[in-house]
Symmetry: C2
Subunit: 307 residues, 2 copies
């Protein structure tokens, strides 16, 4: 039941049509760890922070079963900082500031105690660093899930192709799937991407849900229709954490188990967007999650008679 979550731990400053924050906690590995910690413990975190990352946040993660031995703390630098502004549709955003800070020369080291982890979640970062983490593991994990983004497709495609050949599940959004494959039809895009290495492909479509492709199979998971999306930041990372958290919990990596895992990931993401930052992921209880999962069942459940 051992899960490694790799990615950024950062500060974000976010502006949405509903409000604005100063620097708050963010980063792909933060969202993934908080989401997964509701499902499985311990979680082995690999990341990097500067001298400004709050001790209370580290304590909170530790309390939730997140092992921080793999989180490097750089004493004379600042944590990664991102600032962005969402458009009215909440699906598109402008990046206002990207201060790499500690990320600029991040060279992750996998602690000895993390070896033999069965599940590896590689959050969105430079493909070469993702490859380094895989290569440091003496035993290949049972399942490697990779998140990436269009930036790496535009600037580091060869490295990205290499890491794609090393992983099991790829998470991208619809425009990234189109860019990566050169196909507009998501079905055609999926076929091409599944030839690049991953055996499973999840295409995230934001408020329109997510598609899971594997061989000739396809599964569609809706997003819960929400009255308000308050802050979409971290929703994809939260989805990833819920997804791999469910798989690590059940140790079942069949297609059917992945379908359930996508619903769990979608449920987690539906909480994430309700408040700024990872706040809601800290507040929710087992009961909240169960109620939301039941809402997903209601949302898509139907009886069919043949004609």
């Amino acid at each position: 039941m051992s899960l490694i979550t790799f990615g950024s731990m950062a500060f974000d400053a976010i502006e949405t049509p509903f409000g604005k924050t100063d620097k708050i906690i963010g980063g792909s590995a933060i969202y993934a760890a908080y989401a997964a910690s509701h499902l499985v413990k311990p979680i082995y975190q690999i990341s990097i922070v500067g001298n400004d990352f709050p001790a209370e946040e580290m304590d909170e993660l530790t309390k939730r079963g997140v092992n921080l031995e793999g989180v490097e703390i750089v004493p004379d630098k600042k944590s990664f900082f991102w600032s962005g502004k969402y458009h009215l549709d909440m699906n598109t955003r402008d990046t206002l500031v990207t201060d790499l800070n500690v990320l600029a020369d991040f060279n992750p080291v996998v602690p000895e105690s993390y070896q033999r982890a069965e599940f590896l979640m590689l959050g969105n970062l430079m493909p070469l660093i993702q490859i380094s983490v895989i290569n440091q593991l003496k035993e290949r994990p049972k399942l490697i899930v990779l998140d990436t983004m269009n930036f790496w497709m535009e600037t580091a495609m060869e490295d990205l192709k290499k890491v794609l050949s090393m992983i099991d599940v790829l998470l991208v959004n619809d425009s990234e799937a189109r860019f990566l494959s050169g196909e507009f039809s998501l079905v055609r895009a999926a076929k091409k991407i599944l030839l690049m290495g991953p055996k499973y492909l999840i295409i995230k479509k934001g408020e329109h849900g997510a598609l899971l492709f594997h061989e000739s199979h396809v599964f569609f998971a809706p997003a819960l229709p929400l009255e308000d999306v308050f802050d979409p930041t971290g929703a994809g990372d939260t989805f990833a954490g819920g997804f791999i958290g469910h798989l690590a919990k059940t140790k079942n990596i069949s297609f059917d188990s992945m379908k359930t895992a996508i619903i769990v990931g979608s449920a987690m993401a539906s909480f994430c967007v309700e408040k700024f930052g990872p706040q809601r992921l800290k507040e929710i209880t087992k009961e909240d999650i169960d109620i939301r999962l039941a809402e997903f069942v209601q949302l898509v459940n139907f009886d069919i008679d043949l004609v």
Copy 2:
């Protein structure tokens, strides 16, 4: 088991990234009738055509159980003609030509033999004409379904509001729901629209599926992920025909029955887009439809364990 389908019977000339047609058969009542005829017979059609509408098409409809007594044939005028060009994403299109022709002074008359129909599908046309059809029915149908579009929201909102207060189920797409309600969130939009008259609201999201709202309930039906969408023309009307066809067949207008009806409508629409015009709707068999319905079950079926 009597169903009235009301709307246009027309010629379309369509250009898509995949090809181009000369004038082919189209119109909302054509698509709705072909789709519904796979589920229920007879179908009572109300529409208007000119002297140019092919006799073979009328024969084909009759053969499929579509009663054409309510279709007015104007001897000295031409049928409605629409020409449009789809963009690469197939979700947006430009209208190139709209020749109203016979539609310009369409004054539908409901034949006596159509009275006491239990199901009424009002395809997209001027709201005043839709109202006229409702008012001519001596007994209110068990279920009235209305399709409309943003054009009427911009040019005839008062009439549209009147017809909204007379119907049971409203079909609109996502941008129309937003326009009609003034709300961006579809959940908020649905709440407002359900106060305008309809007890059920279906928001069509094209390739992203459809949402059904009723009181506090919501159901999400995916669209089948397709390798190619060849021609989206008529997909919404086909969806409507499949939806009301299923309800008329089962005579069950519960929320659960509507969920199934949406899946049937989505299945019908998935055939429609495979070829130009209503061609595929003429070709498919009961077996084709059953296979596709089973694909929809596979597409969304999952098991859930609570956390």
